[in-house]
C-alpha cells in the first residue's frame, strides 16, 4: 500500500465540502425535507466512526474486529453521564473519548502482542465481553439499553433541535478529520504507515513498534467513542447492539467500500452504505442481499475502494 500524501487539490475540496455541509440543513429546510437532516447527521456520525477504524486499519495496518466496543463505550458513557446528571456535551463527550480511549489502551495492550488471525480473534473476544457486560448490567438497562431522556446541551445550547445537533456532529467530524489529515502526513503518520509496510525494519531502525501501534489503536478508539456519544444523542439510546461484533463488521464494510488507507475512505463508505440502506429498505426488507451484491461488485471492480477512484491518495 502506498503512503499517504495530500493531493494538491485536497484543500479546495475540503473547503468546498465544509461549505456544502454547512449549507445542507438550510437547503433541506428550503426543500421541505427536514427529515433528512437527521439522516445526514447519522451519516456524519458513522463517517466519524468509520474514519476512526480506517486510522487503525488503513494507516496502522491493524485489522480489528473490536471497533464496535469503543463506539459502544462512547454511547454508554454519554448515557451514564446523563443519568449522573451531567447533561453538558463539553464534559460528557470528552469523557466518552477518554473512556473509549482508555478501554482501547487496555484492549490494545493485550491484543497488539499478537498478529494476524489471533489479533482479529482477541479484538473480537473483547467486544463480545463488553457486549455481555452491557446486556447483564441491570442498572444500565440490560437488554433494553440505557435511554437518554433528551439530547444534551453544548455550551449551554440545547441540541434538541435537529439542525443544532447536525452542526454539533459536523463540528466533531470536521475537527476529527482535520486531526486525522494532519496526523497522516506528520511524523506519527509516517511511522505507523511504515510499520504497516514492514514492522521488523522499523524495529531495526530503532522504533518501538508496539508503542506506536498502541497509541494509534487508542486514538482510533477515542474517536470511535466520540462517534458513539453522538449516536446515543441522535437516537436517544445507548443500546448493547452498538457493542455487537456485527457493528464492527458494518464499520469494516464501510471502510472497505470507501477505501482502506484513504483519508476520506471511511466517510465515503459511511455515506454509500447508509444511502444504500435508506434506498433499499424502501424496496425490500431483504436489503442485505442487495448490499452483499454491491459489496461484491466493489471488491471485484474497485478493490481499493470508491475513494481510490477519485485518487485522493498519491505517492
Amino acid at each position: 500500500m502506498a503512503f499517504y500524501r495530500p493531493a494538491a487539490y485536497q484543500k479546495p475540496v475540503a473547503i468546498a465540502l465544509v461549505i456544502g455541509l454547512l449549507a445542507l440543513p438550510t437547503a433541506l429546510t428550503g426543500l421541505g425535507q427536514e427529515f433528512y437532516i437527521g439522516f445526514a447527521t447519522r451519516v456524519l456520525i458513522f463517517a466519524l466512526a468509520a474514519s476512526s477504524l480506517n486510522l487503525l486499519l488503513g494507516f496502522g495496518g491493524m485489522f480489528s474486529l473490536g471497533h464496535a466496543a469503543f463506539f459502544g463505550v462512547g454511547a454508554y458513557t454519554a448515557a451514564i453521564c446523563q443519568q449522573a446528571g451531567i447533561n453538558e456535551a463539553l464534559i460528557a463527550f470528552p469523557l466518552a473519548m477518554a473512556f473509549a480511549g482508555i478501554f482501547a489502551l487496555a484492549v490494545g495492550a493485550i491484543s497488539l502482542r499478537t498478529r494476524g488471525v489471533y489479533f482479529i480473534m482477541i479484538t473480537l473476544a473483547f467486544t463480545q465481553m463488553a457486549y455481555y457486560l452491557a446486556v447483564s448490567a441491570r442498572s444500565w438497562g440490560g437488554d433494553d439499553g440505557l435511554p437518554l431522556v433528551g439530547r444534551m446541551t453544548l455550551a449551554g445550547i440545547s441540541l434538541a433541535d435537529d439542525t443544532y445537533f447536525y452542526f454539533a456532529a459536523f463540528f466533531g467530524l470536521t475537527v476529527a478529520m482535520l486531526f486525522f489529515s494532519r496526523l497522516a502526513d506528520a511524523r506519527f503518520g509516517r511511522v505507523i504507515q511504515a510499520i504497516r509496510e514492514n514492522e521488523t525494519r522499523m524495529e531495526a531502525l530503532g522504533y518501538p513498534v508496539f508503542r506506536y501501534r498502541l497509541i494509534c489503536f487508542a486514538l482510533g478508539g477515542a474517536l470511535a467513542g466520540l462517534a458513539g456519544a453522538l449516536l446515543a444523542n441522535l437516537t436517544g439510546l445507548a443500546s448493547p447492539n452498538l457493542l455487537l461484533w456485527t457493528q464492527s463488521g458494518t464499520l469494516l464494510v464501510m471502510v472497505i467500500i470507501g477505501g482502506v488507507g484513504y483519508l476520506y475512505g471511511g466517510a465515503v463508505g459511511a455515506l454509500i452504505l447508509l444511502c444504500l440502506e435508506e434506498v433499499l429498505v424502501g424496496f425490500t426488507p431483504h436489503w442485505h442481499i442487495a448490499l452483499g451484491l454491491i459489496l461484491l461488485g466493489v471488491v471485484l471492480f474497485a478493490p481499493k475502494g470508491v475513494a481510490a477512484l477519485f485518487g485522493k491518495k498519491h505517492g
Binding site: 500500500m1 502506498a2 503512503f3 486531526f179 494532519r182 496526523l183 502526513d185 506528520a186 511524523r187 506519527f188 503518520g189 509516517r190 511511522v191 511504515a194 509496510e197 514492514n198 521488523t200 525494519r201 522499523m202 524495529e203 531495526a204 531502525l205 530503532g206 522504533y207 518501538p208 513498534v209 508503542r211 506506536y212 497509541i215 505517492g315
Partner: protein
C-alpha cells in the same frame, strides 16, 4: 588491545533437537572490522539475530558498549548504537531514497519518546538535510528523489547502508552486504565499507571471501553452530580446521 564493544558470552540456542548455536564466545573490538564466515547453515544468520535482538538465546548473554543487552528489545539495542542491514534488501520500496533515510534519521531523533501529530514531515527541512548527507556518504546523492523500488539492486544495498548509518551506530551489523550484487557493484560496496570502517566498528557476515579478506581485521569461523576459530586473516586462512570445513574451495 582495544576494548571489546560487543561481547557475546556462552551463547546457546536450540531449535527442536538441533543446536543452532552452542556456547559461542565472540567479541568485536571497537574500531575493527570483524568478519564472521562459515559454510551455509552454520548458524550465521541465527547468530546475527541474537546479536541484534530479533531472537532470544536459551542461555548466555550479549554485552554491548559495556552493558548487558540480552533482555533488550531490538529497538532499544538500536538506540544503544547497534544498527543492522539485511541480507535481503529491506527498504520501503514505495518511498523515495530520501524518505527512506529520513525515516531512519527520525527514528534516531525520536527514540520512541516523541510523537508528532501535527507538523507535515515534508516541512521538516533539517530532517531531510541530514538524510541527504547519509545518501551522499554511500554515493547515492544523485538518486535522492528516486523511488526505492526503481533503484538498481546495488543501489538498494547502498540505501540499506545509508539507513543504518542514519541511526548513528557505534557498530554496524552487515548481513551479507554483497548478496546478489554483480562484480562491479561488489567492488563499489567493498570500497564503501572500507570508507565507513574508518568511522565505525563493523561486524560483517559475508560469503564473498575476496571481500572478507580485504576488509577484515579479524575473522571468526562458525561451523555447525560452534565457533571454531578467531584470528587475523592469515592465521584463519592457514588453520587446518577451517580448511576442512570449507574443503579448501574458497580459501
Amino acid at each position: 588491545m582495544a576494548e571489546a564493544l560487543l561481547e557475546v558470552r556462552q551463547l546457546s540456542r536450540r531449535f527442536a533437537a538441533v543446536d543452532a548455536l552452542k556456547d559461542v564466545n565472540f567479541s568485536v573490538d571497537a574500531g575493527e572490522v570483524h568478519a564472521l564466515i562459515g559454510p551455509n547453515g552454520a548458524g550465521k544468520t541465527t547468530f546475527i539475530h541474537h546479536v541484534s535482538g530479533a531472537l532470544q538465546p536459551d542461555s548466555g548473554s550479549v554485552h554491548f558498549a559495556g552493558r548487558d543487552v540480552t533482555s533488550l528489545a531490538m529497538h532499544s539495542r538500536v538506540a544503544a548504537g547497534m544498527a543492522r542491514s539485511y541480507q535481503i534488501t529491506n527498504v520501503f520500496l514505495g518511498l523515495s531514497a530520501l524518505d527512506n533515510v529520513a525515516l531512519a534519521v527520525q527514528g534516531r531523533q525520536d527514540a520512541g519518546t516523541s510523537f508528532r501529530f501535527w507538523k507535515p514531515v515534508r516541512r521538516e527541512a533539517a530532517l531531510f538535510e541530514e538524510a541527504r548527507d547519509y545518501l551522499a556518504q554511500v554515493g547515492l546523492e544523485h538518486r535522492v528523489d528516486t523511488v526505492a523500488g526503481n533503484l538498481a539492486h546495488g543501489e538498494q544495498r547502498a540505501l540499506e547502508l545509508a539507513m543504518a548509518l542514519a541511526t548513528q551506530p557505534k557498530m554496524l551489523l552487515l548481513d551479507e552486504p554483497m548478496a546478489g550484487t554483480g562484480p562491479e557493484e561488489s567492488a563499489r560496496m567493498v570500497e564503501l565499507i572500507e570508507h565507513l570502517a574508518r568511522h565505525v566498528t563493523i561486524l560483517l557476515v559475508e560469503h564473498d571471501m575476496a571481500a572478507v579478506f580485504r576488509l577484515a581485521d579479524r575473522i571468526s569461523v562458525l561451523v555447525n553452530g560452534q565457533l571454531i576459530c578467531t584470528g587475523e586473516p592469515e592465521a584463519v586462512r592457514a588453520n587446518p580446521e577451517v580448511r576442512r570445513a570449507y574443503l579448501g574451495d574458497h580459501l
